[in-house]
């Protein structure tokens, strides 16, 4: 039995949750693949269907606390430097 989580995705100026819950312990690779597949078919409410590349995105993981469930946030990386 795995801990369920909601995957929130930001892409192309839009934001939405993957329709189905995922495992909180899913790998970043799997999460990015599921997100890309879902967006390509219009399967994320709030994000228009399009091809998506999450290679340079990262996953923030927030364990459940108080009234908040497990959350996974897929967002762009933001490091800079030489």
């Amino acid at each position: 039995m795995y801990a369920e989580a909601r995957l929130n995705i930001t892409f192309a100026g839009q934001n939405g949750d993957l329709r189905d819950p995922v495992s909180f312990d899913a790998t970043d690779t799997d999460l990015k693949q599921w997100a890309a597949e879902a967006i390509s078919t219009g399967g994320v409410a709030g994000i228009d269907a399009k091809e998506a590349d999450f290679a340079d995105f990262v996953v923030d993981r927030f364990p459940a606390k108080e009234d908040l469930p497990n959350r996974l946030i897929l967002r762009p990386k933001t490091p800079f430097g030489v």
């Binding site: 100026g13 340079d56 933001t78």
Partner: protein, 133 residues
């Protein structure tokens, strides 16, 4: 020794947020969820982001830089201006395509008013002071 710094800039070319995280160092601004949150909150008025590189001369974007540029633009759904400064020069970069990482320098004719503060926050004066001793 200089330390990298950054600033988020609005459509009037004015600073929105000075990015001076505790974990910045001489060669990097680490990944920051807070920075992304601020970019997203201000997405309607963001023009671009500037950061500093160590040393002097004409700076060039690293692979880390251009992949970050591309990722942020993909998330926002719009193209931005990316400035990089050194102790004595700066460049402004935009995506020119068609490749995902095809960023090129613009004319950089006018130095933004916040550029000097960015250099101050990067500690270049300390570097220059050391060189002149």
């Amino acid at each position: 020794m200089s330390i990298e710094a950054g600033v988020l800039v609005d459509l009037d070319c004015e600073p929105i947020h000075w990015h001076l995280p505790r974990d910045r160092n001489t060669g990097a601004l680490p990944d920051s969820r807070q920075l992304w949150d601020i970019i997203w909150e201000n997405r309607a008025r963001v023009m671009g982001f500037a950061h500093s590189h160590p040393g002097s001369g004409i700076p060039g974007p690293s692979h880390e830089d251009v992949t970050t540029f591309a990722a942020i633009e993909a998330a926002l759904g719009k193209r931005l201006v990316w400035w990089i400064t050194s102790a004595d020069n700066f460049v402004e970069l935009c995506w020119v395509g068609p490749h995902k990482l095809a960023y090129a320098r613009g004319p950089a004719m006018y130095e933004p008013t916040w550029m000097q503060r960015l250099r101050d926050e990067s500690g270049y004066d300390d570097v220059n002071a050391g060189l002149t001793k």
